[in-house]
Amino acid sequence: AKVKAAFIVSNQANESQAFSAREFVKYGPSYGFNVSTFDAKGDTQVESEIVTNCIAQNFKVIFLNPNDIHAIVPALMKAKQAGLIVGMFSSYLQGADQKWSDFAASSDDLLGGQLAAQQFIKHFPNGATIVEIGGQAGHNAQIQRHDGFNGDKGIKGSNIKVLDFKACQQWATDQAQAIMEDDIVKYGNQIQGVFVHWDNGATGVIQAAKAAGLKNLYIVGVDGNKAGYVQVKSGDQAVSIAQDFTSMVKTSLQLAKDKLAGKTVPAFTVIPQIIYDKNTVNNYPTPEW
């Protein structure tokens, strides 16, 4: 019999997570799991309730993509007490909290931000002025990408200058577009590049730049979804830092299988990010999400 496992999504209305959920269901059986999906609908409170609900339902393993890595801890404590195997997905607990999960498989959002920064440094060896447009304010990925981008291994110390940083209220393309439009009015040709936290946001940024007649903007996004892929291919977007959710899912399942078999597993497995740019993008197939 297959082991009962649950994949708890932070918000299934988000395409990357909807995709991951499908992948879990698809690949689960080949690792010996029967995966059910639960959707926290973007609500931290709901997410912790789903964890306790999974305990009640006698799940053996939960894979979890939390909205808020701090707020989920009390629920994870209960899960651990009940003897569940907890795997963090596309996210990882930090510091002392790490003991409440058995393993984590994630691309490092901090690293994502750093990679983006390095693209800028490479492209503008003599420095540049750019703007940064963040994802949903308060969302873990947004925070990490922002910190990575501006931190030590990011643009800190380089001569890339951020003219303006604003986060959106949601991961909403139109908000990214409105911010970009206002930035263009304010800074005009001073803007040489844009770091936007997600590729669908980049779609809005591209529209704003086109409407304003701004050419040769160096736009870097994160995700590597269909939008990012096409935009890089068509040259509208310079780089997309792509996340590989399929291998993230497979890694998670393998780790859970190992853990069940009593092996020791690493606390944090980094799923490498792929860099799509005009040279590399043709080496990859069109993403499924």
């Binding site: 299934q12 959707d39 609908k41 931290t44 409170q45 006698n58 009390p74 304010a137």
Partner: protein, 320 residues
């Protein structure tokens, strides 16, 4: 004097609203499902999960019965949750919690001022207030989640007392307290009068302003109380908790049978309404219903229950 069946409040509650039959349908239906629904752990967990929303609903019910409503509770919830953590290093845990609750009372006071004293539309003004508070919460935390450093803090909501989760106990106590307040005190009865007909209540010598104002203050206070409990439950304060909470709670109250027009309903009804929501979530998860279908069903259930309520009234109105 004969106590007729109709005038028996309990019978009234049972027959007049459709959330209870719906709950019963779910309870009976789950008897036949091969899930772990009927385990003590799950039943308690269900109560525990609904408790924050229930507490919010008790406060909101006061304002709705008085003919208002409070959509700022989402904002109060997050800001007071953040305050109860952010102030801990400054003044210690209990004073921080107290401050958070005082903050909620204050916002309730301002809401009351705007709605009752200045006679603005409660729906819209509390919506705006909720928006404002969301911004305040983001500003306070720089939109980062804020974990508590005091380990005792977490135990307030996550601890148990003789096997019963603390949250469930607190909710039960608040339930009894607010139900008593609404039914057996002059304040509660005056709220019904004000919601039933504001002018008549005023002409009858009820201090309408003070009474209704107090309802808003109490609603702000309970929202803040719920906010601190939520922060304790999650051991974190963050600006992104309360987004849809206000609408869901107000909707649950109405689904329970408390009329948005004021003057009708009460705490037991509200509790039923929100329990119906909580149970629906639990049941759908148990039955492994996929996310989008869950959303669809939940929407359909809201429409269906309110539809049935209205339809029953229409039938009664038009009975030939």
């Amino acid at each position: 004097m004969v106590l007729t069946l109709r005038s028996n409040p309990l019978v009234g509650i049972l027959t007049k609203q459709k959330a209870l039959p719906f709950i019963l349908v779910m309870l009976v239906g789950m008897l036949f499902s091969k899930t772990r629904f009927y385990t003590p752990y799950n039943l308690l967990d269900m109560l525990n999960s609904s408790s924050i929303l229930l507490i919010l609903a008790f406060g909101v019910t006061l304002t709705i019965v008085a003919g208002g409503c409070d959509l700022s509770i989402g904002g109060i919830l997050v800001v007071s949750g953040i305050l109860s953590i952010k102030l801990q290093p400054v003044m210690g845990m209990w004073p921080a919690i107290l401050c958070a609750i005082v903050f909620g009372l204050l916002i309730g006071f301002v809401n009351g001022f705007l709605v009752v004293h200045q006679k603005t539309e409660p729906f819209i003004i509390t919506l705006g207030m909720g928006l404002l508070l969301t911004g305040v919460a983001q500003q306070l935390t720089d939109a980062h989640p804020l974990p508590s450093q005091i380990s005792d803090f977490m135990m307030i909501s996550n601890g148990t007392f003789y096997g019963l989760p603390n949250l469930v106990i607190i909710t039960l106590v608040l339930f009894l307290l607010s139900a008593w307040l609404m039914r057996y005190t002059q304040f509660g009865r005056n709220l019904y009068a004000i919601g039933g007909d504001y002018e008549v209540a005023r002409y009858s010598g009820i201090n309408v302003i003070r009474t209704k104002w107090l309802a808003f203050v109490l609603s702000g206070g309970t929202a803040a109380f719920a906010g601190f409990l939520l922060s304790s439950k999650l051991n974190t304060g963050s600006a992104i908790y309360g987004d849809l909470t206000a609408l869901v709670v107000n909707c649950g109250v109405v689904v329970g049978g408390t009329s948005f027009a004021g003057g009708i309903g009460g705490i037991p009804q509200s509790a039923l309404g929100l329990l119906a929501f909580g149970m629906l979530d639990n049941v759908m998860n148990m039955l492994d219903i996929t996310s989008y279908i869950q959303i669809l069903l939940k929407g359909a259930v809201i429409v269906a229950i309110i539809w049935l309520d209205s339809f029953a009234q229409k039938r009664k109105r038009e009975a030939i």
